[in-house]
Amino acid sequence: MQGEVNLFKEYLAKFLYYFIPFAERFLNYLRENVFPYLTEVMNYLQNLSENLPVNFEPYILVFILLIVLGVIFNWKLERREEKKRKEKKEISELLFTFS
């Protein structure tokens, strides 16, 4: 029968039986060959997160800045689209007069 829970459990068990050893091997490989190179990035992030301001004001300032930037860019986009629309209208009017 389709959608049986036992069947799903069986498939899940099979999948995990093959996947877990593979995941372990992959993690060991990462631990030996990749993770040692990440320590510098981690140190940098550690310093950065320690030096970030504790009060809310700078974060709110960045938030306001992003909102203002977004509105400005959106306004510019709107103007550009209006210009395009006008150009299209002019071209269609010209074509209409020629026809």
Binding site: S49, Y59, F63, L65, G70, V71, N74
Partner: protein, 144 residues
Amino acid sequence: MTDKKLLRKGIFTVISSLFFYVALPYIIYTKYLVQFPQLALESYINWIMRMGVIMAGIQFFKSVSSEKSTRHALGDLLLSIVYLIFFFKLFTLKVTVDVAENIMVSISMEGFIYIYLLAALIGIFANVIKVFEVWTIARRSKSF
């Protein structure tokens, strides 16, 4: 999609992100988690709220620009960087629990850091490539 629609979408996104990142953690903390002072979760909640404000701003910046634009890709990149800092701090914070007198349990998620760091760095790299890709496509279409 016209730009007013985009602006409306952005306002909706900023309100929802402020609710989920700032208001909801604050409500949960003040209503429920304050009752367990031994958990000392204040630093976690403050951190989530602080970064949540920036994340909401970036979400707005991203969603007011049209899809497949450089600004949208740039917003994705900024978001992935902020997510990295946010989760890094969350994983490095230690929660200490006073179980009983002279018994203290410290909980940390430092085991996740390296694997998350790897995934986040790959994601940031992918986003940088995406920004360049979108930028070159936009430049080419302008020259046509």
